[in-house]
């Protein structure tokens, strides 16, 4: 083919450009559709989980289910009250240990020592702690408390859960305190307040919402932990007897129920799962209400 006229030439160029353009547009569309498919593929499991938990769980829940200990295995009678009670006790204790320590460590990292070998070491190991599998942390409760006292106990479970919760609280506290405007602290200093007062009565209230949110996220996280509880609180079908004895917890109960070969146990498992999700949901709803009602906006 000879290129005689100018129009021939530009024709070929435009055809080539068009072809390339069409290909580029095709690739672009292909990728866009691909990402949408991925999003849908990721939403399907979530929808299915929520639907199944609600659908199967709701039929299991009754007054007896919420207030009675488990009946004989396979009978489908009784309830999961000890597990609800145990979860509240163990998680409550763990939070009671981890919250003050975590918040104080966060304060230390943000208000007292930002740079230096020691704070950086604390930060590093705090991150390491965040990434450790919960079952490894269960070993801590087992070796230090169960082995020395000779009994599976609430204490051991609370210790393990507190180690899982603490680094999350430290992280959130440090990050939240960091964004509190420095002028607030200066105002405190100019009034001649002690650093303790500035931190406790000016900086902390300004960062309250963020820290509370972090604590609630951390509590929801430990409320759903199963693995460390296997090695620490064991799980019984009885109510709480004391912090040196074993106790039950919802995630543990779900696991045991799911491994039994009875339909009635599976139904109980779904019921317990629904209760667990509702408890976590109630916690974050409660927090949201609290924050909305008394929100404190720092003036910058």
């Amino acid at each position: 083919m000879t290129l005689n006229s100018k129009s021939d030439y530009s024709n070929i160029v435009s055809q080539a450009v068009n072809k390339k353009y069409r290909k580029r547009m095709f690739v672009n569309k292909f990728v866009t559709i691909g990402t949408i498919i991925c999003v849908i593929a990721a939403i399907i499991p979530l929808a299915s989980i929520l639907i199944e938990v609600v659908r199967n769980g709701i039929s299991a829940i009754s007054f007896e289910f919420l207030t009675q200990p488990q009946g004989s295995i396979g009978s489908g009678s009784g309830g999961i009250a000890p597990a609800i009670q145990g979860t509240i006790i163990v998680v409550g204790l763990a939070a009671a240990i981890a919250t003050p320590v975590g918040v104080l460590t966060g304060i230390y990292l943000s208000e007292f020592a930002k740079e230096g070998i020691f704070p950086n070491t604390v930060r590093f190991f705090n991150d390491v702690l965040t990434g450790l599998p919960s079952i490894v942390i269960g070993i801590v409760g087992y070796v230090t408390i169960v082995l020395t006292t000779g009994s599976f106990s609430v204490m051991a479970g609370a210790l393990s859960l507190s180690i899982i919760m603490m680094p999350i609280v430290v992280r959130v506290t440090e990050e939240t305190l960091k964004v509190v405007p420095y002028s607030l602290r200066e105002a405190g200093h100019s009034l001649g307040l002690s650093k303790a007062k500035i931190t406790l009565f000016i900086v902390l209230p300004a960062a309250k919402d963020g820290i509370l949110t972090g604590i609630v996220i951390a509590i929801s996280r430990i409320a759903g932990e199963t693995a460390p509880l296997i090695m620490t609180i064991l799980g019984t079908s009885l109510f709480f007897t004391g912090i040196t004895g074993p106790v039950d917890a919802l995630p543990l109960r779900i696991w045991r129920l799911a491994s039994q070969p009875y339909e009635s146990a599976h139904a109980f498992g779904w019921g317990s799962a629904l209760i667990l999700i509702l408890m976590i949901l109630a916690l974050s709803m409660g927090l949201r209400l609290l924050i909305q009602r008394k929100s404190y906006k720092p003036v910058t």
Partner: protein, 328 residues
Amino acid sequence: MGSKHKQYLSTLFTARKKRHDKLFAGLAVGAAVYTLLMVALVGFSVTKGSVDIFSKEGINFLTKSDWNAVEGRESYGALPYIIGTLLSAGIAMAIGVPISLAIAIFISEIAPPKIGTVLSFISELLAAVPSIIYGLWALFVFRFWTRDLIEKPLYDAFHGYLPFFAKTPFGLDIFTAGIVLAIMIIPIISSICREVMRVVPYSQREAAYSLGATRWETVRTAVFPYVKSGIIGASMLGLGRAIGETILVTMVIGNVIGPGAIPTSLFSQGQTLASLVANEFNEASSDLQLSALIALGAILLVITMAVNIVARLLVKKKVKIKSGAISQ
């Protein structure tokens, strides 16, 4: 008021102020020390618990594959579970990372902000669901989906020629465990990727668009180069979760022990380090077996620590690059 009185007051207040500060600083340092102490406690517990088995089996514990708890013939090896852990986490990564990346691209680059917010909310919701509930769902619902929709067709099509599809699918196997792990880590990886992509300066994208790039070309040429190490870091954080996840894997992986736990196909029943600990811990018949189980935890600790440290370094490096780009 005499000046003496004034002086007295001021020293009183300074003294009180100093005392408060000292007390408070002491508490804060104490809390920081407590954090380190807990780390030491983890190290101490795991070492103390696993010392028995390592002194009996030595380094062979890592390469042996029997798991025999019968008294007098006790012999333990961790190899099958190390393989099972790496394989299931590998499947989770192979499925989870591309999907997470696609979701992150969709939310941060393609979707209108409103849809993006809704999707972010959903992924937060998904991240708050406890793994036991994923496990319950996987055991009673999802297992049949994988068996009938993925494993059976793959088996029918390939079982003659490809050895890794050669096992009658059952639904409770390494493959299912890998997929459910992927579902669990997708919200984690995609939310970090999204955050990393968000900090790429908008001028980069504008430059690409002004040269006539399509949306995908913009992402590929203007966004990716900035976020590469951030994406790798995010994936490795997800990998750390997948390796350490216990209860969910225990419920779907099939739980075999001994040499039979070395997978011969993707559809083999398997066992991971974490799932074996969860399964046998309360039924362990001897101290040596307990020690062997804790030693599995020790191996898990070392693997996840390494993965997490590398991941955090990568994410941090990313953040430095990004702040450099903004200041320029």
